[in-house]
Structures are given as structure tokens and as C-alpha cells.
């Protein structure tokens, strides 16, 4: 084996192959920076080149691309609070909080060092296990996968904030929203209300952007300060970031392990790995008080897991031809195009190619993290820019990213609707991670439950794998209640000194309750197998909703259920009313529907800069030109669609 590994290493570093790996890495970094694009867009750009290449060069390019996307996706997660890829959602929580404190470069450096560590760890595991992984992967049947989904849901305990009532409702809401569309067990359509768009469910990219990025953008918009509010950018932050990882090396190691395992299990999907890692770090830490408010460990955990995940995900991809994650699907497609067949032969007659892939993965991670680390310092300066200059760019980017999800104009409106949900969840202290975890795991929990009941009936609980995961889940639940993360902890303390008006909170909770009733009504129309899952979830939500309304109506101000960031915030924090960002963005979308996206972006930029940022006409012209050129260049080279208007 060692000989093969060394041989692969040698081939890779030969002058005829190395430049291709480098090309893949550079492309991956550029594309990864744009949220929502990921490997798919990269592949379409790479394909024309791949044809002329030999197998090794083509593989090196593909792996280089796929490996570094989670690395550079970190930039927007940390700097702007925009989840850069589906596996860097959890990074936003502490990464963005650090950026707001002026420690963006430290957070980025820690993230990249962890990515490097995770990526290398994944490659290392792959080297030793690839030949014996087949039977291990087959141990995970549908019953085990169902229990893993439940394990994932148990992370909600740590992430639900001070009020477990609202945390559970948020998670239930996520599960119900996640079950919109075709029922896995029967194929019948739930809660689609005759809208074609909803048949496939709401895309995760849009939910992640709307629940996390949208409220942050809206808040910054209203505060109109720089992202790193008054804070000074710490000098030499990036050295500290590297030191942080070294200090927490065991944490990085554990989370890399989690990432590799979750990645290796086909059917788990990469979008939950960062949450499991994040939940793990919260549960295993003694001092939990800083999580969600800028704890560097909250960056290290998800970032080491999400790069390790790619190594793990290569196992089912290579051994079974079944992609372990979204980017692996693209990688698999690329392999087919260069004529390499994934399957059992990858560990027999094509083992040399497998080692080439593994080493490309390792080297790509080193290159990607190195380059990103290099850029971390200068790019952190972005957080000093006055937000009104940055806002149009960020709004353009999230709209563009959302539209790439299904290329339907409704993508934008769904972004707006869930963005408003996100704004209020943030304002009233409802856990957004809980909602997202529920959303991500909904389909998985339901379809594997249905399968395991049919395959094993009650005997599924006798399977050793299920018993082990159940025990892990119980441990996770036990630890989770020993202290939960709440981003609003300081504000809650402040709020206790005030009598809060409850009307806005009650209206929001009532809207949630109405949705619950509507969803229940819809689920009761379905056949038994098609409706049973949402009915169980909704029924479980009802007692919590009752408890919530009890607290509201009895006006128990000391309870953590009662919270309103708007009323607690110091006077003058917000310079414009809550609906103003919504009107600007909604206006952009309405105009897009009429005249198309590019012309309305022009209008948006010009008017925003002139009236909100009050820049001179020259500056407005330059910034607008920059935005439009950026948009058109990207969509041109990646052959991406933009919303077309009616005319």
C-alpha cells in the first residue's frame, strides 16, 4: 500500500499534473466565495478543459475544485453572515459574531487552519480505510440512518436558546416546512396549495440564506454602521487564529472524525455535519457562555468537520458510485465523463487512481487553506466598510445565489418570505439553528422511518447499530440541557429590567400557530402513510404552543419565552423602521419581474447609493458599474441564468 501511496504522490507532483491540480484549486476558491454556487457551477466551467486531459490530470482538477469549496465558502460565512455553502451554516453563528467584534481575521485564520486540518485528516482516514470500508458502509441500514437523523435532531437541545419551548416549536416548524412537497412514502403532495414551485419542497440554499443572512443584512441596514461596529480590527489576528486551533487540537481532531464518519455514510447528506460538530463542541465545553457570541471554538468545530466530510464522502462515491454529498454528485458525473467507472473496481484494478484522488484531496486542502490564510488579513478590512456601501452588493449576492437554486422567480419571493420569518425569529429570540436542523433532517427522518418500519418493523430497535446511536442520542440530550447557547443572552438580562410590550410577540406566535393549524388541516387530507409524519410533529408542537401562549397571556416577564430585541435595544440603535429593508428588497424583486434582474439591479444600486448611502454621483456610478460588471461576468463565464422580466 505504501508503495502505491508514494507512487500516487509522485505522479501528482510531476510537472505535467501539478498545474492542473492548482487550476482546480484556484477555480474552487473563486467559486466557493460566491454563496450558493458550489461545485456544480465549477464543473460546467471545467468541463470543456477536462476533455483534452489524461485521467490523472482531470481527476486532480476535479478533486482540487471540490476539495476547496468548503474552505473558501467560509469567507462570506464569517465576514457577512451569509452561509457560503450548505456545510458552513454553523460557522455563521460564532464566525460572524467574531467579525462584528473586529476579530474577523482571527476567525478566518482559525477556520482555514481547521479546514486544512480536517481535510488532511479526511484524506488520511481514506488512505487507510478505503480498502476495507465497503462492509462498514453497508452496516448503516435504513434503521441506523433514521436513528442518525434523530441524533442530529437532538442537537437542537443545545442550540435552542434559553427557552426550550420556543426551541422545540422552531424545530417542529422546520420539520414541517421541510416536509412540504412530495411525501417520501407515497409521492402525494403536501402543503403545495396548487403552487408548482412547492412540489419539490423549498430548497435548502434559500432557507439557509433567508434564515441566517437575511436578518443580519436587515439589521445592519437599519443600524447603518460597519459590520465590525465600533470595534478596532485586532492586529495580527490571524496568528492568534492559528494558535487557537493548536490550542484546541483535540477538538479539531474529534470534529474531523465526526465529519469523516458523517460524510462516509451515504444518505446522511453534508448539510447536517456542521451542526453535529457545533452541537458537539457546545455539549463538550465547560464554559458555554460565549457560544453564539463569538467563541472561536464555534468556528473550529464546524470548519474542521466540513472539510473532513469531503474525504469521508469520497468513500461511498468511489466504492458504490453513490454520491455522499451534493458536490460528490458532480464529481461522480465528472468521473463518468472522463471514462472512469466508480464502483468496486476502484479498490482493485483502479486502486492507483483512488490513491491519486486521495492525495489530490490532501494537497488541494493544503493549497486552498494556505492561499485563503494569506488572504484572510486583507479581506477582513471589508468589515470596516460602512454598511450602506456594502449592502447593495450583499443583497445582490444573496438574491443571485437564491435564484441559482431552481432558476425560478419564486426563489426570490421565497427568500423574502422566509427572510421575514428569520427577522422575527431573531427579534423575538426563536432559535434559528433549531429551525434549520429540523428543516434539513425532515425528509431524511421521514423516509428512513418509513423504510425501516417496512423492512424491520419493531425489530429495528433490536439492531446493535440502532442501540448504539440511541445511547449516543440520550447522552447528547443529557448534556445539551446542561447549558444552552443563546445569542441574546446579554439582551435577555437587560430585558428583565424592563416591562416588555407583548403585542408584537403574540402576533408572531399567533402566525406560527395559524400555520400549524393550516399544516394540520392539510396533513389530515392525506392518506395515512402520506400524512402521519407531519401529524406527529404538529401534534407534538401543540402543547409547547399552549405553554408559550400561557406565558404570554399571564405576562410572566421573568420567563425566557418573553423577549423582544427591538424593545431591549438601546435607543437610537436602529436608524430606520423594521420594514424598510424589506421594502427595498421587495421592490427590487417586483421591478425584476417586470424589467429583468440586471436593469433592476442598476436601478437598485443607483437609488440606494444616492438616497441611503448619499454618495457622490461619481462614486455611485463607479460602485454601480462594479456591481453590474461583477454580476454579468460571473453569470457569463459560469453560464448562469438571471431572472428575466416580462419585457
Amino acid at each position: 500500500m505504501l508503495e502505491l501511496v508514494l507512487q500516487a504522490f509522485q505522479t501528482l507532483f510531476s510537472p505535467e499534473h501539478f498545474p492542473f491540480l492548482m487550476m482546480g484549486v484556484l477555480l474552487g476558491l473563486v467559486i466557493g466565495v460566491f454563496p450558493g454556487l458550489g461545485g456544480i457551477a465549477g464543473l460546467s466551467l471545467l468541463l470543456p478543459f477536462i476533455y483534452g486531459m489524461d485521467e490523472v490530470s482531470a481527476l486532480a482538477t476535479l478533486v482540487g475544485l471540490v476539495a476547496v469549496i468548503p474552505t473558501s465558502a467560509t469567507f462570506t460565512s464569517v465576514l457577512m453572515g451569509i452561509p457560503g455553502s450548505s456545510s458552513s451554516q454553523a460557522t455563521v453563528l460564532d464566525g460572524f459574531a467574531l467579525a462584528k467584534k473586529g476579530e474577523a481575521s482571527r476567525a478566518l485564520a482559525a477556520a482555514f487552519t481547521s479546514s486544512l486540518f480536517g481535510g488532511l485528516f479526511g484524506a488520511l482516514i481514506l488512505t487507510f480505510f478505503v480498502q476495507i470500508a465497503r462492509p462498514m458502509i453497508l452496516l448503516f441500514g435504513s434503521a441506523e440512518l433514521f436513528m442518525l437523523a434523530i441524533f442530529g435532531l437532538s442537537m437542537v437541545g443545545s442550540l435552542s436558546g434559553k427557552s426550550i419551548t420556543k426551541g422545540v416549536i422552531a424545530c417542529g416548524l422546520g420539520l414541517v416546512v421541510g416536509s412540504i412537497g412530495a411525501a417520501p412514502a407515497t409521492g402525494e403532495y403536501r402543503m403545495v396549495f396548487g403552487i408548482d414551485y412547492l412540489y419539490d419542497g423549498i430548497p435548502l440554499v434559500i432557507i439557509a440564506l433567508s434564515i441566517f443572512a437575511f436578518p443580519e443584512i436587515s439589521e445592519l441596514f437599519r443600524k447603518d454602521s460597519a459590520i465590525a461596529e465600533g470595534a478596532k480590527l485586532s492586529k495580527g489576528g490571524w496568528m492568534n487564529g492559528i494558535k487557537d486551533v493548536i490550542k484546541n487540537k483535540w477538538l479539531a481532531l474529534r470534529c474531523s472524525g465526526i465529519g469523516t464518519i458523517v460524510g462516509a455514510i451515504p444518505g446522511m447528506g453534508g448539510s447536517v455535519v456542521d451542526w453535529i460538530a457545533y452541537g458537539h463542541v457546545v455539549q463538550s465545553s465547560k464554559d458555554k457562555s460565549k457560544f453564539g457570541k463569538g467563541d472561536i471554538r464555534g468556528v473550529i468545530a464546524p470548519e474542521s468537520a466540513n472539510n473532513a466530510k469531503e474525504g469521508g464522502a469520497l468513500m461511498p462515491t468511489l466504492l458504490f458510485g453513490i454520491p455522499g454529498s451534493g458536490s460528490m454528485a458532480v464529481f461522480l458525473g465528472g468521473m463518468v465523463l472522463i471514462g472512469i467507472e466508480a464502483g468496486p473496481s476502484m479498490v482493485t484494478k483502479n486502486i492507483d487512481l483512488t490513491y491519486t484522488i486521495i492525495w489530490s484531496l490532501a494537497v488541494a486542502n493544503v493549497l486552498g487553506a494556505g492561499l485563503s490564510l494569506f488572504l484572510a488579513g486583507p479581506i477582513s478590512q471589508l468589515t470596516k466598510i460602512k454598511f450602506s456601501l456594502l449592502a447593495p452588493f450583499m443583497i445582490m449576492v444573496i438574491s443571485f445565489a437564491a435564484f441559482q437554486a431552481t432558476k425560478d422567480i419564486l426563489d426570490l419571493w421565497v427568500l423574502l418570505v422566509f427572510g421575514i420569518l428569520g427577522i422575527f425569529m431573531k427579534r423575538f429570540g426563536w432559535s434559528r439553528p433549531a429551525f434549520l436542523i429540523g428543516f434539513v433532517l425532515a425528509t431524511q427522518a421521514e423516509s428512513y422511518l418509513n423504510m425501516s418500519v417496512q423492512f424491520y418493523s419493531w425489530k429495528m430497535f433490536m439492531r446493535p447499530g440502532v442501540i448504539i446511536i440511541s445511547i449516543l442520542t440520550l447522552i447528547s440530550i443529557y448534556y445539551s440541557r446542561k447549558g444552552a447557547v443563546d445569542e441574546n443572552e446579554e439582551l435577555i438580562a437587560k430585558g428583565l429590567k424592563k416591562q416588555l410590550k407583548l403585542q408584537p410577540q403574540i402576533i408572531f406566535a399567533a402566525v406560527i400557530a395559524c400555520f400549524t393549524i393550516l399544516a394540520m388541516w392539510d396533513s389530515l387530507q392525506q392518506s395515512f402513510l402520506g400524512g402521519v409524519f407531519p401529524i406527529i410533529i404538529l401534534a407534538a408542537m401543540i402543547p409547547f404552543l399552549i405553554a408559550l401562549f400561557y406565558v404570554y397571556l399571564k405576562n410572566k416577564q421573568e420567563r425566557p419565552e418573553i423577549f423582544d430585541a427591538e424593545q431591549v435595544a438601546a435607543a437610537g440603535t436602529f436608524k430606520s423602521p423594521w420594514y424598510e429593508p424589506i421594502l427595498w428588497i421587495g421592490g427590487l424583486y417586483i421591478v425584476s419581474m417586470i424589467i429583468g434582474f440586471v436593469p433592476s439591479i442598476i436601478l437598485f444600486f443607483v437609488f440606494f447609493f444616492t438616497f441611503k448611502a448619499e454618495t457622490s454621483w461619481l462614486k455611485t456610478a463607479i460602485l454601480t458599474a462594479a456591481g453590474v460588471i461583477l454580476l454579468m461576468t460571473f453569470s457569463h463565464f459560469l453560464n448562469l441564468e438571471l431572472p428575466k422580466g416580462l419585457i
Partner: protein, 379 residues
């Protein structure tokens, strides 16, 4: 305030002029024909596709079978079609391919600059009159067709060696990992039912790969894979004694008759197995099976353009495809990327197209009734 408004409007106007000017300029480079049949035929020169883009709509996700098919072909199309048009593969996944095909139906012009690649998955909801379908195969004609096949295999734990012993299986309750009742799985599930097997479908699997994994885990004991997936991933299992092939769905010869699949000449096709159990290859059950098998596998991949597209345009495309098939590099990589079957054009493509998309009302109704009684599905 007023000054700002005027300033903004002026600035916007300047940008608009630049943007629309750029758009107009880049459109002028690709002069489009009006698309009205007849009058523009003379204007279609030998270099019609020069400096043009062809948008190839794929109603599937990136990385899947349909996507790979298009992306594999795209560069060869560019090289071999006269004028070297750039092929832009546009993925519009959703609703089991209905969304992308609807998009094509709503936006296509008969100018050969937008083409649609459909698959068995796209044909099924059309044939079953799904109300969401807005595309109509009657309005299209084929540029290219690509058939495939499928093989049903079982676990050795069932104790049979080949299809001749299938009688022993009839009383064993089996489970089958399925993507859903209106997917391509309709063909194997209907096949099991015709043979009188007791197979219960478990839905919710995402893709055939997930079904194969369930087979390898021992959760299901019977499964099917399309030809290329079978060759790659099941043949090694057969060789190590972990899977027993039963039958293929067969293939269609140039007259549209069912024959043994040339990729698996040693394996009986479904018709042989059906006959051996004492059934005749006629009657509504058989006709329905044949119709849906042709739609799902015989016409697995179709490349379409509107019926009104001038013949000269289709001829240029087809000539390019035939030229591509002689390309040495294409010949070398094609088998690995797509499988053993040949991509066909001309009359052969039309024959496959007809078989795959024209199903009699009677057979449609029979299938719908079957879905109703079997899965309680109202279509």
C-alpha cells in the same frame, strides 16, 4: 431631494443605455431566424450554426444520468456540427423532470437553438396524463434517440439459480426499493405483478443507486438497474456470488420487436420468462407492458426539437451527430461513459420516438387502473 431624484434617473438612464446597447450588440452577433416554417428555409445556409449557441435543456440535476449524457455529448456536438455551435447545457431539475420539460415547452422556438433531452422519467408522467405536464410529444420530433435496457436480479439467499426457477419465488413475499409509483420503476413493478410475484414496493428511495445499496445491505432481495449501472456495479456482485441475474427487459430491433438485449445475450428477456410461465405475448396486459417498457427503456433518452423546425436544421444536426460517431476519441470513451447502445438519428430515431411516446388510450387506462388498485394512486 429633487436633485437627487434627477441625478439618479439620469445615472440609471446612462447605465440602461449601456446595458441594453450591449445586449443588442451581442444579440446582433447571433442573428436569429424568425422560425416561421417555409419562408426561412432558403436562409438556412450551410454555416447556419456558425457563432451560435445551442441551449440544451436537461430537466435533471447536475451529476445524474441525464446530465452526464448531455455533457458527454456536448463537446463532440461542437466539434462535429457544421459551424461549430457552442452547446450550453442548462439544467432545470424539478418535479421529476416535469419542470424543465415545461420550461422548454413554454420557451422554445423552432430554430434549433434550444433542444430538450428527455428520459424515460419524462415520458412517464406525460403518458399517465399528469395534470402538471405542459409538454406534448406530438409537437416535437426527434434529433437523436438513445435506448438502454435494464436487468432484474435477486439475492442468492432466495435459493434460485436463474429465471427458469422463478416459479419457486412466486409465493415468497419480497420487498422492492422504489423511487415512487410514477417513476420509471413502474416497469419493473408492473413486470413483477404480471409474473404473479408478491413484491411490495417501499417508496422514498432517492435514485436507483440507493436501491442498489439497500440490496447490498440485504434490506431488499430483488432489484433492477439500468444497463450501464448494472455492468459497473452489479456484475462484480454476480461474479462474487452475491447477486443472481434473472432477466433483462429486452431491447427493440429495427422493426420494433422485442429481442434479447444485445448487452446481455445470455439473459432471457422478460417476454421469454413471461411465456415460460404459461402466458401469451398478447392481450392488454402484455400490450401495456410493451408500451411502457418502450417508453421507459427503448426511448430512454430522446433529444427533441419542435415539429416546425426546418428540416435543413435537423439535417445539419443529425449529420454532425453521425460524424461524431466516427470520431476515434468518441468511440473510445463512449462505451465507458454511456454504455453499449448506439445513439441513433434519422428513421431509427423516429421509430424509437414513436414507440416511446405514442401509447394507445386503452393501455394508458389499463396502467392507470393498475396504479389505482395497486397503490391507491389517483391519476
Amino acid at each position: 431631494m429633487k436633485n437627487k431624484l434627477i441625478q439618479s434617473l439620469l445615472l440609471s438612464l446612462v447605465f440602461f443605455l449601456m446595458y441594453f446597447g450591449y445586449e443588442a450588440y451581442s444579440n446582433a452577433e447571433h442573428t436569429e431566424i424568425t422560425g416561421d416554417n417555409g419562408q426561412s428555409i432558403e436562409s438556412i445556409t450551410a454555416d447556419y450554426f456558425k457563432d451560435k449557441n445551442i441551449q440544451w435543456v436537461i430537466p435533471f440535476k447536475e451529476g445524474g444520468g441525464g446530465d452526464t449524457w448531455a455533457r458527454f455529448n456536448a463537446p463532440y456536438f461542437t466539434d462535429n456540427i457544421a459551424g461549430n455551435p457552442v452547446i450550453l447545457v442548462t439544467n432545470i431539475p424539478g418535479g421529476g423532470s416535469i419542470k424543465g420539460a415545461n420550461f422548454f415547452a413554454d420557451n422554445v422556438k423552432p430554430d434549433g437553438l434550444m433542444i430538450l433531452g428527455t428520459s424515460g422519467t419524462t415520458q412517464m408522467p406525460y403518458l399517465l396524463d399528469d395534470p402538471r405536464v405542459r409538454y406534448d410529444y406530438d409537437n416535437y420530433k426527434p434529433i437523436m434517440a438513445y435506448p438502454t435496457g435494464g436487468v432484474v436480479y435477486t439475492s442468492p439467499t432466495l435459493g434460485i439459480k436463474d429465471a427458469s426457477e422463478i416459479k419457486k419465488l412466486l409465493d415468497t413475499p419480497l420487498k422492492y426499493a422504489s423511487q415512487g409509483p410514477t417513476s420509471l420503476d413502474i416497469v419493473p413493478m408492473f413486470s413483477f405483478d404480471l409474473l404473479g410475484m408478491d413484491v411490495q414496493a417501499v417508496f422514498g428511495f432517492r435514485g436507483r443507486g440507493a436501491g442498489r445499496l439497500a440490496f447490498e445491505r440485504g434490506e431488499v432481495l430483488i432489484d433492477y438497474q439500468t444497463s450501464s449501472a448494472y455492468l459497473k456495479n452489479v456484475v462484480p456482485l454476480v461474479e462474487s456470488g452475491e447477486a443472481i441475474p434473472l432477466f433483462s427487459f429486452g431491447a427493440l430491433d429495427s422493426n420494433g420487436n422485442l429481442i434479447r438485449d444485445p448487452s446481455f445475450p445470455d439473459l432471457p428477456h422478460f417476454g421469454e420468462v413471461y411465456q415460460e410461465l404459461g402466458y401469451d405475448l398478447q392481450g392488454i396486459e402484455w400490450d401495456t407492458w410493451f408500451a411502457f417498457m418502450s417508453a421507459g427503456f427503448g426511448g430512454m433518452k430522446l433529444l427533441l426539437t419542435p415539429k416546425e423546425t426546418p428540416d435543413e436544421i435537423v439535417r445539419q444536426l443529425q449529420a454532425g451527430i453521425e460524424k461524431m460517431k466516427l470520431d476515434e476519441k468518441y468511440k473510445k470513451t463512449k462505451v465507458k461513459a454511456l454504455g453499449l447502445y448506439e445513439q441513433v438519428t434519422g428513421p431509427a430515431a423516429s421509430k424509437i420516438f414513436d414507440l416511446a411516446t405514442k401509447v394507445d388510450k386503452e393501455e394508458k387506462e389499463y396502467m392507470k387502473e393498475w396504479l389505482r388498485t395497486k397503490f391507491d394512486l389517483n391519476l
